[in-house]
Amino acid sequence: MNAAAPIIELAGVNKWFGKFHALKDIDLQIARGERVVVCGPSGSGKSTLIRCINRLEENQEGRIVVDGIELTEDLRSVERIRREVGMVFQQFNLFPHLTVLENVALGPQFVLHTPRRDAEASALQQLERVRIGDQAAKYPGQLSGGQQQRVAIARALCMRPKVMLFDEPTSALDPEMVKEVLDVMLELATEGMTMVVVTHEMGFARSVADRVIFMDEGRIVEQNPPREFFANPRNERTRDFLAKVLPR
């Protein structure tokens, strides 16, 4: 596969919820190793956008290609893409009946058919990477929000994905826990992971992103490298939004 080809490509994607037109003519290409932050007011379609990439939502029009695999009705293409794409949710969505270690080892064990011992070894490695190896035997309900979100990141990483999607990963956290999660994401970015992050953390966007995308009413309104994006917002709606979220 051509290394210069985009790892994610959306062309003419449209999505409706009932009659509500949630995504309008989305064209987007994301390069290997690129860090993209998606921002915009609530209801602008940013979560829907990244949820279409691994088919948690189904777009009615347009095509989506991830790492050369086109998303189709065929369940196998969906499952292949999900193996390549990790996802972190706002509400963590850990499996409460499994220990932290089992949460992380589940994917490798049953999707990649890694022997249990190896799956758990690699799970522990990922947990240590997010600095939470000492909590491996606990249940998710015994951890703080920040710890749970780091476990969720480890769970996604344990599948060795080529892309990581983050859907407002810090929005459900108490303020003092936001940093521990952002630090882990920052490290991931430094290691060269392709990341698409929906977030309101403009500091993170400024320091980590290669490109910031602003969405409103289901459209990509503006996209630019962060320096340009923050210094020179061209669209009026972008300026409005930034005025609200940026500290004065």
């Binding site: 996802m87 969505n93 409460p96 589940l106 999707v111 998710p140 599948m159």
Partner: protein, 372 residues
């Protein structure tokens, strides 16, 4: 050191709670004036009633199967002689008297296997092997016809072994069917969903007694003569298929309690639909519905008494057989107390077990009042 940090933050130990029987009584029996009045009234009633009950049930009662002694009591005390005389009929129904060691041994085998199945630590492959031996052994012992055992037709099986067999089959087979029906009813495929919904709603619209009548009397008329199915098999299948509809709704309740995020998280790491159900959804949903499962278990256990309407004699039915003896028929109270005690022992055991299992399998659920 967390201790030091807490000391720095001004943390203190919780206040000492008074312990001991006196403190307990003050807190629970005499806390307020109404509570004190209730306690006194209740204690006085007990003090009056208990000696009478003891005289009726224990000290004044006749314990041997002595009919004349029982008659002389003139119902002033219990005649356990009835139970002493008829206990084998009550426990084993119409099963041929000299062969009743067979249901006894068979039932003990099944109960032992149930005991082994009770602990999650034993939920391994060998347990399947255990049941693969125990169930045929039970059926061979009961049915005979091989190994020099006289054949005993299933219509004569009765009493507690019948109750246990029907409950065991009814519950253990209806749960997996119920799980499949519940998953089908939540399926995205319209045909599956409609079929499951139709089945569940139809079965729930029919009383169990009708199902038993159909299984017992109507089915043989509809099937060709060569395709004779044994009456007990038909009854067991009827109870199972009936119960499966209720189990399906119980399971569906558990499935619906889980947030959508669980499905999405499982999908996002690439688990297939089956793997998601098997590894993520069902293990949570089934633990959530243990209390309802036990409801069903207990109601099947007692609903088996309905099989008397199709001339099978479970524990309750066998008691009625025993009361058919004109000499003893007036001692029905003792008989029902005895059968009631058997039912209570079994049901109370099951419900304590389920409470334990719920705690053990649901350790991940944080409950109010438990420390994290």
């Amino acid at each position: 050191m967390p201790g030091t940090a807490e000391a720095l933050a001004g943390a203190r130990l919780p206040p000492v709670r008074r312990r001991g029987p006196w403190a307990w009584a003050r807190a629970n029996l005499f806390a307020t004036v109404p509570s004190t009045i209730a306690t006194v009234v209740f204690a006085a009633t007990l003090a009056r009633a208990l000696p009478r009950i003891a005289r009726w049930a224990v000290t004044g009662a006749v314990w041997s199967a002595d009919y004349d002694a029982c008659r002389q009591l003139a119902y002033r005390a219990a005649c356990w002689g009835f139970v002493a005389e008829k206990h084998r009929l009550i426990l084993f129904g119409r099963y041929p008297y000299p062969e009743q060691w067979r249901p006894l041994v068979g039932t003990l085998l099944v109960v032992a296997a149930l005991g082994a199945s009770a602990h999650p630590r034993c939920w391994r492959r060998w347990l399947v092997a255990v049941w693969a031996v125990v169930l045929p052994a039970f059926l061979v012992l009961m049915g005979g016809g091989v190994l020099g055992l006289t054949p005993v037709e299933t219509g004569l099986w009765g009493g507690l072994p019948l109750t246990i067999l029907l409950t065991l089959v009814g519950v253990s087979i209806s749960i997996p069917i119920g799980v499949v029906l519940a998953l089908a009813r939540r399926s995205k495929l319209p045909f599956l969903r409609a079929a499951a919904t139709l089945y569940i709603e139809m079965v729930r619209g029919v009383p169990l007694i009708t199902v038993l009548f159909v299984a017992s009397f109507v089915m043989p008329l509809m099937l060709p003569r060569q395709a004779r199915i044994d009456v007990l098999t038909r009854i067991a299948a009827g109870i199972t298929l009936f119960q499966a509809a209720y189990m399906a709704e119980v399971v569906r309740g558990g499935l619906q309690a889980l947030p959508r995020g669980q499905h999405e998280a499982a999908a996002s790491i690439g688990l297939s639909w089956w793997q998601t159900q098997r590894r993520v959804i069902l293990p949570q949903a089934l633990v959530l519905v243990i209390p309802s499962f036990v409801n069903s278990l207990l109601s099947v256990f007692m609903d088996t008494s309905l099989v008397t309407v199709v001339s099978m004699y479970d524990l309750t039915g066998a008691l009625r057989l025993a009361l058919g003896d004109p000499r003893w028929r007036n001692f029905f109270l003792e008989g029902y107390l005895f059968v009631g005690a058997v039912y209570f022992t079994c049901c109370f055991g099951m419900s304590r077990y389920s409470a334990w299992l719920e705690r053990r399998l649901g350790r991940w659920i944080s409950r109010p009042g438990t420390s994290r």
